[in-house]
């Protein structure tokens, strides 16, 4: 049986049903001016871009990368790529050169869509990407040569009609979202058009959005949340939504929430923790009269935030849990379910979880174990692109190992404990220690390095780098700045260590593996436990 192409479900079908003139997105600029975009606007602009991409001979299954901050162009580009049955790969605009290179190399991206202010990063790595055909720049007036094209110029010559297959095989690849692992380079979780039905079930079951309600998801589309809950679901379900082009800003966010009359708000614990630090006046001047539901995702929601949210907004905050790999919400709190503050809530209907040991045997109620999900739900990732072995390694006896440790109580509520691997969750970004370590090792004054995540009140986890300096080098402010800037430019600003610890030696086992638990104990001033395997 065929399924709707994401672009058909989100745009073309709306236009066929006579909803083309309906506002699909109320876009709020950083200066709080606003623009409305209709379904027809996105249908036309994505058709034009699909024609442009077709001109570069983009075939089904090939990857087109979108390296843009959140914008209406990003959304049009996503749908244009879907119409070609190519795969989109949206990248954070804060990514550094090496992080970009890893992702573009692995995905084999044929085209990158970007803007002038980010072009420098793409050009810096272009020569290492022989498969890259074209770089399309959304704000360039004229073609530059050397594969750099003015997208406005190309669009001016492209038609607004584009024929494509509205119904596709459900297993047709649709998008890659990159995520970090505890070892090695980032992995691109591949999702398919057939995931839409499962994603849509979460609206109504978990997220209550009534007809006419205004919805706001604050996540960047480079996050699975921003793509699924900021683009695919509101568009495909005709949910009235707004998006804000700026980043976190307490004053503006509260003004938008109140003045626009947002009914359902989906945000992240780090943002809520930052809001908690604001003065009372930031909130007391607003009534938030329209606000019905607040949901959060990305990191565990501390009970303190839950209680603060209830006091500040007179609403419970429903924590939800999912991953890049799961495609949509799997475990959640929701209206009608008594919230146990600090809990992830309960699994969705039809989602079987198992808290288990290494042999996939369930652990007793209340005991910590690996959080696993029985494989087979519709929005599940289908592989790690070009890394199928790593994908297969995530499954045992038909269960997907999430990499989280959790426990389940006697009432069925799930409680997050920690990661079971070395991946660091900082402000909702999963950072692999390997990426940061690789960047720091490029600094000539550094001879060895290890990176860990430690608990942090604001970020959930913060990144700590242990450095061994080369003989004769001394740690001073200028070197710290050099390290910070290098990580920011090579990986991303969110991967910058918060703290550096200078040490004589990195503890490793006999096979050279970094003993991160020893470093964590050293940082916390606690007992490191058994050191018999240490080199």
């Amino acid at each position: 049986m065929l399924t709707k192409n994401f672009a058909y479900a989100c745009l073309t079908e709306k236009c066929e049903l006579g909803l083309g003139a309906q506002v699909a997105l109320h876009w709020i600029n950083n200066d709080l001016t606003a623009v409305d975009y209709t379904y027809q606007d996105f249908e036309d602009s994505s058709n034009q871009l699909a024609n442009v991409l077709a001109g570069f001979d983009i075939q089904a299954g090939e990857v087109v990368s979108i390296f843009l901050p959140r914008s209406e162009q990003l959304i049009s580009a996503f749908f244009a790529i879907q119409k070609l049955q190519a795969m989109s790969c949206i990248l954070f605009s804060t990514l550094g050169e090496e992080a970009m290179l890893d992702r573009l190399e692995n995905s084999g991206a044929r085209v990158v869509i970007t803007k002038k202010s980010l072009l420098r990063k793409v050009l810096a790595i272009k020569d290492a990407l022989p498969q890259l055909k074209a770089i399309l720049v959304i704000d360039l007036d004229a073609h530059q040569g050397g594969q750099v094209y003015s997208l406005p110029q190309l669009l001016s010559e492209a038609g607004t009609g584009f024929d494509y297959q509205h119904y596709v095989d459900p297993e047709t690849p649709a998008f890659l979202q990159y995520t970090s692992g505890s070892t090695g380079k980032p992995k691109g979780a591949l999702h398919v058009h057939g995931g839409l039905a499962e994603m849509q079930q979460t609206i109504g079951e978990i997220m209550i959005i009534e007809p006419g309600d205004l919805y706001w998801c604050t996540a960047d589309p480079a996050w699975i949340t921003g793509l699924v809950y900021g683009i695919i679901l509101p568009f495909s379900l005709s949910i009235r939504q707004l998006q804000f082009s700026g980043g976190y800003n307490a004053e503006k966010w509260m003004q938008i929430l109140d003045d626009q009359g947002v009914n359902t708000w989906y945000t992240a614990p780090t943002a809520l923790r930052m809001l908690m630090q604001e003065g009372e006046f930031t909130f007391s001047k607003h009534a938030f009269a329209a606000l019905k539901h607040i949901y959060s995702v990305g990191e565990p929601l501390n009970p303190e935030i839950f209680h603060w949210g209830k006091k500040t907004f007179q609403k419970e905050i429903y924590d939800t849990w999912f991953q890049t790999e799961t495609g949509c919400i799997m475990i959640a709190n929701k209206p009608g379910l008594v919230v146990k503050p600090g809990s992830m809530g309960k699994p969705r209907a039809g989602i079987e979880i198992r808290i288990c040991d290494d042999e996939v045997k369930p652990v007793p109620v209340g005991k910590q174990g690996y959080l696993t999900l029985r494989a087979g739900w519709g929005s599940m990732f289908r592989t790690y692109f070009q890394k199928d072995k790593e994908y297969q390694d995530k499954f045992r006896q038909g269960f997907y190992f999430t990499g989280d440790l959790a426990k389940q109580d006697e009432d069925g509520y799930v409680w997050y404990i920690s990661r079971s691997d070395d991946v660091i969750n900082t402000a909702g970004h999963l950072v692999g220690p390997f990426e940061v370590e690789s960047a720091l090792l490029e600094i000539e004054e550094v001879s060895d390095v290890a990176v860990i995540g430690v608990p942090d009140e604001l970020l959930h986890q913060k990144i700590i780098a242990f450095l061994v300096l080369r003989p004769g080098e001394t740690w001073e402010k200028a070197l710290e700045l050099k390290c910070r800037i290098h990580v920011s430019n090579k990986v991303s600003s969110f991967a910058m260590p918060s703290d550096f610890v200078i040490t004589d030696k990195i503890p490793k086992n006999q096979s050279g593996k970094i003993l991160r638990r020893v470093l964590k104990a050293q940082y916390d001033g606690t007992d490191a436990g058994d050191l018999s395997t240490m080199e």
């Binding site: 804060t94 803007k115 980043g247 200028a478 800037i485 920011s488 430019n489 910058m496």
Partner: protein, 77 residues
């Protein structure tokens, strides 16, 4: 080298972009990488370049590059 040239070099170093040209109205919205995290790097780099330390109250309401220049000028006066 005058203050603005030195400050331009600091920006170019921090944001790894030799094409940056400063003007007084420039804000974080004009440089893609200028977020709250890299802002810390920028302030640290300015302190190192000009040999002073910012006070918290001096940096909490920095609205644009022009304001930053005025603070640096006053610190160096």
């Amino acid at each position: 080298m005058d203050l603005r040239e030195r400050l331009t070099n600091v920006f170019r170093y921090v944001f790894h972009d030799d094409s940056i040209t400063l003007n007084d109205d420039m804000t974080a919205d004009d440089i893609e990488e200028w977020d709250s995290l890299s802002h810390v790097n920028l302030l640290l780099a300015i302190e190192l370049e000009f040999g002073f330390e910012f006070l918290q109250r001096e940096i909490q309401d920095l609205e644009n590059v022009g304001a930053l220049v005025r603070i640096i000028e006053s610190k160096l006066a």
